[in-house]
């Protein structure tokens, strides 16, 4: 009886460029007490659906054009503002993606957790604070007694998200809307939060609408899955059925293009493959072919010895050992994956190897030449051979430079190409190599999609003809379908140009897919180092084991 029914919901955005049909006639039901996963890539309309339920969208430009959302016998889309306010936070709560920006930085955490109780006049001020403390304890915020006056910025990301959950559940809502609640978190934290969420909601008896881009996470928590694509629901079923026998090509593609832990594709299938031919079946191919043996010379092509990077913390004078006596080596033409959670020092390590961060002590040997001690001006030649691709292709391209300028600049710096014409030719061929066209040259970064931008970043890295590329979380911000394309591109380039990669990521599945060897980092040190297969199949340390266990896994094997 208390099912939530979404029927024919249409939410459009009226922008200057025309009408964007963000959500276009969708139907689904959230059965009472169940968890429904709403899955889709960015722009598929999943968040808009979620916000439409609570009518939190900014109007204009957003406008609900039709349909109904039946909640406890009433149509939410026709409810008055007054009525909606009594429902929000009391009967329907919401958890947002980014717990930093979604908590008020000017109010203490306790105040914010208690606030829904006060808004809805459920208890007195003192009682509300007491209940907030109880709730925070239940969600696992430790030492809450000492943190009575703590503000959100004094909490870690995981703790903030716990506080957010406490805030949403304190009124014991009938329906919880969770919009990408674990996307910003480390896998180990994510696993704990998912468990907690499911357990608490079962206790309270809330239904959950769980919005995520990650099928793996949804498979972990949801009873039913609704898949959205371009504003439409393309498939919905019970989680078991959906993974066992997906019918829509897009859903098949989503399941297939994510590198899995058991992964066995050398080239990942992409959404295009599935959409173009209905009967596309990805080829099963062993990921690691037996490659030619590495010569002794190539084996220690890049060698890092006892590398340390320490930072002095500004206000406390405390030394942070971001990287602490790390030793590793990368053979030429191979990929070393570095896995670790946020703060483990993996990015600092990558930057230190490139001398983008001052090295405290240790050696970086590149073809038997110690580059850790080189003076800045002696680095020129080596900078040319070593490049980096950053995580965020939005922030790492200069918005005021055209693609042509962006790609020409490294060549000018390193005096590559005799004249402008020669360089331009190279730019065009680079663009083609990464799958873009020469007609893109005059455009600015904002005119491209995220995946295209990352391709531009790859082209920029390639423009100096490097031998070594550090990929710093370079696919982390991407949708799985785009991620598959970029991973395929990197793989293809490595083969064609005999490139060596240092691939940094928090995502063990992605690293396992692309890397030959893996180093697991924790608190600035290498926890475990070895062949990718060995690390994954037979982890030696408990930390690696924990990382492994935290990966949301589609335990139900698909049809392929």
């Amino acid at each position: 009886m208390n099912d939530v029914k979404v029927h024919g919901l249409k939410t459009f955005f009226h922008t200057r460029e025309g009408v964007v049909k963000a959500v276009n006639d969708i139907n689904f039901t959230i059965p009472s007490g169940e968890v429904v996963g709403l899955v889709g890539e960015s722009g598929s309309g999943k968040s808009v659906t979620c916000h439409s339920l609570l009518q939190l969208l900014p109007t204009p430009p957003a406008k609900v054009e039709g349909g109904e959302i039946i909640f406890q016998g009433e149509d939410l889309l026709r409810a008055s503002d007054q009525k909606m306010r009594t429902l929000r936070g009391k009967s329907i709560s919401m958890i947002f993606q980014d717990p930093m920006s979604c908590l008020n930085p000017y109010m203490t955490v306790i105040e914010q957790v208690a606030e829904p109780l006060l808004i809805h006049g459920m208890v007195s001020q003192d009682k509300a604070k007491e209940e907030a403390m109880d709730m925070l304890l239940r969600v696992g915020v430790d030492k809450i007694k000492d943190r009575m006056n703590a503000y959100p910025h004094e909490f870690s990301g995981g703790m903030r998200q716990r506080a957010m959950i406490a805030m949403a559940l304190i009124t014991k809502p009938d329906l919880l809307l969770a919009d990408e609640p674990t996307t910003a978190l480390d896998v180990t934290v994510q696993a704990k939060i998912l468990k907690l969420l499911k357990q608490l909601c079962a206790e309270i008896g809330s239904s959950i609408l769980f919005v995520s881009h990650d099928l793996g996470v949804v498979a972990e928590i949801a009873d039913r899955v609704v898949v959205m694509y371009r504003g439409k629901v393309v498939e919905q079923n019970t989680t078991q059925e959906l993974f066992r026998s997906p019918t829509h090509p897009y859903v098949k593609a989503l399941i297939a293009c994510r590198p899995t832990f058991e992964g066995n594709f050398e080239i990942l299938p992409t959404v295009e493959d599935f959409m173009e031919s209905q009967s596309y079946i990805p080829q099963k191919k062993k990921l690691k072919e037996q490659s030619n043996p590495i010569t002794e010379k190539d084996k220690n092509w890049l060698k890092v010895e006892e590398l340390s990077v320490h930072f002095q913390q500004a206000n406390h004078g405390k030394t942070v050992k971001a990287v602490d006596r790390v030793t590793l080596s990368i053979p030429k033409g191979k990929t070393l994956g570095i896995v670790g959670e946020s703060g483990s020092g993996k990015t600092t390590l990558g930057r230190a190897i490139l001398r983008l961060t001052p090295i405290t002590s240790g050696k970086v040997r590149w073809q038997d030449q110690d580059i850790a001690l080189d003076k800045e001006n002696g680095l020129m030649n080596f900078r040319k051979k070593m490049q980096i691709i950053f995580q965020d292709p939005y922030a790492s391209l200069n918005p005021r430079l055209t693609i042509e300028q962006t790609l020409l600049e490294p060549m000018l710096v390193h005096k590559i190409g005799g004249n402008h014409k020669e360089r331009l030719d190279r730019v065009v061929s680079l663009l083609e190599e990464v799958g873009l066209e020469s007609s893109h040259l005059r455009r600015y970064p904002h005119e491209f999609s995220g995946g295209q931008r990352q391709r531009i970043c790859v082209a920029r890295a390639l423009s100096t003809e490097p031998e070594f590329i550090v990929c710093d979380e370079c696919v982390s911000a991407m949708d799985v379908s785009v991620q598959a394309q970029v991973l395929n591109l990197l793989h293809q380039l490595q083969k064609a140009r005999n490139l060596t990669y240092l691939f940094i990521s928090h995502d063990l599945c992605v690293v396992k897919h692309i890397a030959d060897e893996i180093a697991v980092m924790r608190a600035g040190q290498i926890e475990e180092f070895g062949k990718a297969e060995n690390i994954c199949l037979n982890p030696q340390t408990s930390y690696t084991q924990e990382l492994m266990d935290s990966i949301p896994r589609t335990s139900i094997t698909g049809t392929f």
Partner: protein
Amino acid sequence: MTRFAPGGPFDSDKAIPDEIKIKLQSHFGLNLPLFDQYLLYMKNLLAGDLGPSFKYVGWDVSELISLAFPVSLSLGISALLIALLIGLPAGMLAALRKNTLWDYLPMGIAMVGVCLPSFVLGPILIMVFATELKWLPALGWYSWTDLILPSLTLGLFYAAYVARLTRAGMLETLKQDYIRTARAKGASPSRVILRHAIRGGLLPVVTYLGPAFAGLVSGSFIIESIFFIPGLGKFFVTAAFNRDYTVVLGTVLFYATLIIILNLFVDFLQAWLDPKAREQQ
């Protein structure tokens, strides 16, 4: 810098006999080398002595400042009150009724207010309220009614600026994710604004208030000239014209101290408003 300007404190239209001039210069120590004069000045300064005025015979610089500053202070405070009383509500209104008449009207007026120089606004106000309507006195510094027109002239400019800052700050804050969170909790619009948005929204205004207040109380030469007010601004500019070195130097030092103190005060205020800034200190 005034030392490099041609002329000296004792030059005037009427020629002073050289004898007297030399005597005067040695009396004030002006015959010493510049560096020695500097040392002497610094020594006296450490003892809290800003030195005597060259032009106003028998007056110390500190005495002059203590006479002129209260005038500028009362003018500044009333102008600030006007700026806040008009600027804050206008900015809030504009932010909350964005892109309606209630946004365009106050913001249009504020735009004019920022652009309109005080030497235009001042005479206009005098013309309307003193000459035509005869409600208020035009010039002078005798009773509290004399305060109204100059502080309006001074305050309206700052009101316009505060209104624009308030609007921008509030709009920026209302866009934040935590405002959406507050709405998702079922908070009413007034609670969203008063409990969640106002602190973040007013931070830019608070930051601006420090320098603004310093500027206000240190007096505005133009306004004090238009309305014939014996304030610090007028006093300072006159001293510069007269090559009254000690007075110029003393006033500059006084301004600088004032600005430092006010900025410090604003920093504390900010820390009180913003828990993150608190930690950085």
